[in-house]
Amino acid sequence: MRRHLLSIDDLTVDDIDTLFDTAAEMHDVQNRQVKKLPALRGRTVINLFFEDSTRTRSSFEIAGKWLSADVINISAKGSSASKGESLRDTVLTVCAMGVDGLVIRHGASGAAKQVSEWVDAVVINAGDGMHEHPTQALLDAYTLQRKLGPLEGRHVVIVGDLTHSRVFRSNVLSLRKLGASVTVVAPPTLMPSGIDGWSKDGGFTTSYDLDAVLPDADAVMMLRVQRERMSGGYFPSAREYTVGYGLTRDRLALLKPDAPICHPGPMNRGLEIAADAADAAQSVVLDQVSAGVAVRMSVLYHLMAGEDSSE
């Protein structure tokens, strides 16, 4: 396994299998009364978050603590550029405290990669702008595998604001790596530029018609749509978005009854996902959250437990 986890592209299929095997063991730990493992005792993990986050930050925090690492959260909200300090200076300052693992969330695409070139610590990308969110994609795939078995040949539909979504970018990579077929659905304004060439290369398909693709889906992933996008002219109104691309009660009926419904959260109930869909028996939204801890424990364990902290 590579030293850092910056992109799903850093992982081979074998790496993902290894991560999932360990995650399954970690999942069992979650159900124990005493949840601590000693694997990262004496190691320090810093969650360096330049963007607000509740679930990802606390998920990493719990994962680190259950592995006995010392976990420190640093919220560096607001761009460091606006404070006059360079990103490099900010992360070098943090790392000078003595850090073994740096979990970084930043609003700018590529930030985790840049940071990995400056520091000695293991860097885990917890979301970089619109680029990637690899642990989210891993927990999504892990959740789906537990429901569906191997994803090879399964059809996953991803719906929503693809342009601005790091969850989409990481998921399309991981799902394709695991052999799933992927269809992405969005209005043309929320499709990333150049997606025609990319989808051809990446072996996935695009569609503007959710109703046409849903009946064939083995799983559906709804992405969060930010209401601010309306002012950017990406779509005219929330109502129009819901009618075209929301997982409404009517569309729920088109979906296979056992097809898992995923959402990375936080959900806009009534916009991209109706309450009936969010709360349906086939919704796996809460499974995703608990899988998130197990998968992040596995990632921390594999990237950090073998590391020689004396370097």
Partner: protein, 459 residues
């Protein structure tokens, strides 16, 4: 080559240079002028520059530099930028107005002009802002800048587009009375906003970087050539970066519209795929484009649709590039490497002759900026602004070797063909054997401080 002592001889003889890469001749330089061209026997006390195998070009002229003074003297000063220009073979540069304070008054322009003369290595001509504070709303003091000692003729809000069509129209009309030109940074702010930093295409989609679509440039180029036609004034398009802009320019020129255009060396060589690693060294505005655009720009430069090469030399302090990609500063160095890039791309691997290089890097930019004493022929009676180039030298670019204060060099580690060996500003060597030649400030030749000498030679 003789090593100069403290006094600079008034007479220099350049032996055996290939004029424009074609005809071999000696150049006798006296009192800042070319006196004789041909086979010249050296006067006794003349300084001899052995130019055997070197191509002689008229001194290069750069329509587009950022010298950062006043305001960001940690990134570059007029003096250090002048050094970089001289090393790059330039004898005149235009210094963009986006300093702090902005060059939007006669006094501000004179300050830059004076700093340039004090440095004394190249003619530094301030570009005036089109609008006050580059805010795009009210006209800057265009007439007072034109009347100032700096005699400003080129105006630009570069870094920002004059986005408002009414403001652009009024500015074009206003500068007609003194023969000015507006150099437009063509970027429709609604189609490519302040965070747009990667050519909009498959790569920006994959990387999740805010896209800067070519059409944001093209719509402004199209609008401005129509405004040039309507007003009868001159528009110059800075750093053209797309094939679509080239098409518009070709049409406009076919209609006789007074439009000129420049392309940067980096847009002639580097492509957008360099952004894949999120290295802010490659972040520049307009962004690096795909190979199809690069090909179109090369063809347009060769066929004259694009008139000039201009560096857009944009030094930045290291910490301003050590941000996340979208937060890092736009721009890359260019003065020291421009000739080598053009030589590699357009001469060694392209259709251009050295005569063409002289056209796009000296004569045309001098004409566009209205610099009478620059960009002239290598003929007796002309000002002795000269650049000597070793056309076969293979140079591996080392960013640490730069005389600029900054290190944001996108060519670091690349090998280029062709190197500037010497530069003469009105007869005084500023670069010899590829190395900056700054004499003791107490013993400076007065020749290069007299930009007027060229005009005198003309009449």
């Amino acid at each position: 080559m003789t090593v100069l002592t403290q006094t600079v001889p008034k007479t220099v003889i350049v032996k055996g240079a290939l004029l424009y890469g074609e005809k071999q001749a000696d150049l006798l330089v006296e009192d800042g002028l070319i006196r004789e061209v041909g086979e010249v026997s050296a006067p006794k006390d003349a300084q001899v520059i052995d130019a055997d195998g070197l191509v002689a070009l008229p001194g290069l002229v750069d329509l587009h530099t950022h010298l950062r003074e006043p305001g960001r003297e940690d990134a570059e000063t007029v003096l250090t930028g002048s050094r970089a220009a001289a090393v790059g073979g330039f004898t005149a540069v235009l210094a963009m107005a986006n300093t702090n304070p902005v060059t939007d008054t006669g006094e501000a322009a004179e300050r830059v002009w004076d700093l340039g003369r004090t440095a004394g290595l190249v003619d530094v001509h301030p570009v005036g802002a089109v609008t006050r504070g580059l805010a795009g709303e009210e006209l800057a003091e265009l007439g007072l800048m034109a009347r100032s000692r700096a005699k400003v003729r080129v105006f630009s809000d570069d870094g920002k587009c004059v986005g408002n069509a009414r403001v652009m129209r009024r500015a074009l009309e206003y500068i007609r009375s003194f023969g000015g030109v507006i150099s437009q940074h063509a970027q429709d702010p609604d189609l490519a906003g302040a965070t747009s930093c990667c050519h909009e295409g498959e790569l920006s989609g994959r990387l999740g970087l805010p896209g800067w679509p070519g059409v944001a440039e093209e719509v402004i180029v199209a609008r401005d050539v129509m405004l040039a036609r309507h007003t009868g004034s001159r528009v110059h398009i800075a750093h053209v970066s797309t094939a679509g802009s080239v098409e518009v320019l070709r049409w406009a020129k076919s209609q006789g519209i007074a439009v000129t255009a420049e392309v940067t060396p980096h847009h002639l060589l580097l492509t957008t795929d360099l952004l894949a690693g999120y290295d802010p060294t490659y972040k520049v505005n307009p962004p690096l484009r795909p190979a199809e655009d690069v090909e179109a720009l090369r063809a347009a430069l060769a066929d004259g649709t694009i008139d000039a090469v201009a560096t857009d030399h944009a030094p930045h302090a290291r910490h301003d590039k050590e941000h996340a990609f979208v937060d890092a500063a736009f721009g890359m160095l260019g003065l020291e490497t421009a000739l080598s890039v053009v030589s590699t791309v357009m001469v060694e691997n392209g259709p251009m002759s050295w005569m063409d290089v002289a056209r796009v890097m000296s004569a045309n930019p001098a004409r566009i900026a209205g610099l009478d004493g620059q960009g002239r022929g290598l003929e007796a009676g002309e000002p002795a602004n000269l650049t000597l180039v070793d056309p076969t030298a293979s140079v591996t670019v080392d960013r640490a070797a730069s005389v600029s204060l900054s290190r944001n060099n996108p060519y670091h580690g690349r090998t280029l063909t062709g190197a500037v060996r010497a530069t003469l500003l009105r007869g005084t060597p500023t670069v010899l054997e590829g190395t900056l030649h700054e004499d003791d400030p107490d013993h400076r030749s007065d020749q290069r401080h007299r930009p007027g000498v060229g005009q005198a030679a003309r009449s």
